[in-house]
Amino acid sequence: MRFAMTRPGARRTLAVVATAGIAALTLAGCSGSDDNAGSDGDKTSIRFLYATGDETWNSAVDAIVTAFNEQSETTEVKLDPLPAGSDYATAMKTMDATGNWPAIVDMRDTVTYINAGKLAPIPTEVTSLLSDDAYGAAEDGNVYTVPYSALNGELGMNIVYNKDYFEENGLIVPETYDDFIALLDAIKANGDEPLATAAGEVWPSDQLWKPLAAPYFAEYSDEGGFWNAVVDGSASIEDLREPLQELLDITNDYVLTGWQSTADAQTTTLLVNGQAIMATSSAGLGRLNDINKVDPDFNAGMFIIPAKDGTLNVLKNSVTGDTAGGLAISAQAQEDGDEYDAAVEFLEYFYSVDGANILEEQGWLAPNITDADQVTHNTSIPGSEDFFGLLESPKLTWYQNDSSSASFSAFNTFFRQTRIEMQDGQITLDEAIEKAQTEFDKTVDSAS
């Protein structure tokens, strides 16, 4: 028989194979835990988990972590970028199902995690570095998240435009909503594409929607926000009919074809190549930075879509509540004294003047620290003066819209997808409203 083996031969093979198996299993056990936090020589090593997708934030994080590591004698921070391709929630959930929490986390869906006891309170050494309205306490009186930018809210939800084109064609930044529509018409009449937007990943669909819905949301700001009003019954999704209609019309009439599969970062290229004259963005300064990297000669500007009366309604994230994004320290790190201290040390650096300057250099708006006057704003990037101008605009009105329900984020994803369905013409406006309302009643209402 061709494959017959001698006894000693077979035994040897078996022994080799078995040893290899055991050795490999041991190796496997080791290499999997390679990157876990631990002590790296004398320095405590901790991980900093952050969401990617915004290239300016990526380089800002990189810069500040590198600078921190260089000056710290006791701590080393390791970067832990989260894949941006998938939903942030999915990525966080998968990570949490572990117990492999990094020490510092760029948080979303905060309420869920606070309630599950996964976050550690931020100590006063850190919070004292921040100006008072930059952070807030959760229900139990502890502060769990601290901001990573002064961009507390959707100030970065802008329209980025081609300034040179505007000049050549005598166009100006719109002051009212009707001006905005006229602007779109004018560009279209020239034979050019007015607006590029992205829905390839689901989250950028907010970029066109939020500014349109903002005036309507703002009406409920003093009563606890629109979404809580829906739970109460004093408002419903039907009240959003007008902005949804506006969204639909703008998509049909003015948006560059192919938006359904365009990824957010690609709108930069479209803008720079002249394939669209304006583009939506939610990255504030970061988008200007990206544009500058791709084409240093591009003259970019930015504005916020105004309401009919000219107000700029911008969502201010409550510093607590589920929309409070920010940096947090994991409860798991708190259990390890060294890791906790290391995390605190890093946050102290983050909110120092040096730290703020490093962030600004990268084109990132540093958080509102108490020593904000010592921080140098980076105005070298084309368009950044527009952005800082927005911060000081008299027409700027902040509004609140936090949902107190922990399952709001699931509804939010569904709502985004439903809007995309509507914009894509798969369902009608009426169907979209009905669908969203039903889902809301099912998930948010029942949970809260």
């Binding site: 939903d87 309630n115 359904q260 599969s261 399952s407 997808q417 439903t418 369905e421 894509d424």
Partner: protein, 307 residues
């Protein structure tokens, strides 16, 4: 055998046989432990979870009876996912097997250099579905992709469509990409099956004056029918769980239009913190697999017997 032995000898033999059977069981134990732990127990747990409202994070949850199931079965989103799953599953199983059989027939005709061509045909199978889908995602980009640029360059700009963003065609595009293959393993298996068809039978049929197609239908096909059944059944099972391509190409979008059940389970069960609901969907998927595999297998075995 035992009739010719004395009574004590028979007892000894029987007890030895029992011992042997226990030893044989011992052989199964290691694999059995892993299998139970990794497959059976979690599957049963999923069934249990499907009756709860666990979110995947909290330590406790409540039982909600059949609420998850009713929610799902009344949701259009679920049925859309079922539709896509069926389309992709059945479509890919049939098309890929047809392609594989076709390629095998082509290869079978070669007398020279068959080894070389076999290798060449197998090469595309080395690339993972994930990588293939990733490349295609960029090839199909509406503004910058190779496909549309090519179409515009050769003068048919109207043919340039938003392949991954047009809700009317996106599922078909995904199907196309899933089937864009030369078959890999399946092709080689069919080739081996074809080559096991005895020459004498083929010769006899040809001598009787049968044309190529008749030879195939009456001689070759019956001989490989068994292999075809197995391959199609396995391809179907794989088809129900198509995930990589959907995730990479569209993430179920635009809207919900291209979601499949496997993707839906990952997105909702994991991403939207609804582990109980996701488990219910998984159970439903399992039932779909079960019923369809049994049905297909039954159908094909019948045809085998007829053939």
């Amino acid at each position: 055998m035992s009739a010719s032995l004395s009574a004590p000898a028979r007892t000894r033999r029987r007890s030895r046989q029992i011992r042997i059977r226990w030893t044989m069981f011992g052989f199964v134990v290691p694999a059995l432990i892993v299998y139970l732990a990794m497959v059976i127990v979690p599957s049963l747990q999923s069934i249990q979870l499907s009756f709860t409202n666990w979110d995947g994070i909290a330590d406790d949850y409540d039982y909600v009876g059949f609420a998850n199931y009713t929610d799902m079965l009344t949701s259009g989103r679920f049925w859309n996912a079922v539709k896509n799953t069926l389309l992709l599953g059945i479509g890919s199983a049939i098309i890929i097997n047809a392609i594989s059989l076709g390629m095998a027939l082509l290869l079978d005709r070669l007398v020279h250099l068959q080894g070389l061509f076999r290798t060449a045909v197998y090469l595309p199978a080395l690339v993972s579905a994930f990588i293939v889908a990733t490349i295609w995602k960029y090839l199909l980009n509406y503004n910058f992709g190779f496909v549309n640029t090519f179409l515009r360059d050769v003068g048919v700009p109207d043919a340039a469509r938003d392949w991954l963003g047009d809700s009317d065609i996106v599922v078909w595009v995904i199907l196309f990409i899933v089937c864009f293959t030369l078959g890999g393993n399946t092709t080689l298996i069919y080739l081996a099956n074809l080559q096991s068809v005895p020459q004498e039978l083929l010769e006899a049929a040809r001598i009787d004056g049968a044309g190529k197609i008749q030879v195939f239908l009456n001689v070759t096909w019956p001989m490989i029918a068994g292999g075809v059944t197995i391959n199609v059944t396995l391809a179907l099972i794989a088809g129900w769980t198509i995930f990589d391509q959907v995730m990479v190409l569209t993430s179920g979008g635009p809207g919900f239009v291209s979601e499949t059940m496997a993707f839906f389970i990952y997105k909702v069960g994991f991403g939207e913190y609804r582990a109980g609901f996701g488990s219910a969907a998984a159970v439903v998927l399992f039932l779909v697999v079960l019923i369809s595999s049994a049905a297909t297998n039954g159908y094909m075995r019948k045809r085998e017997i007829q053939a």
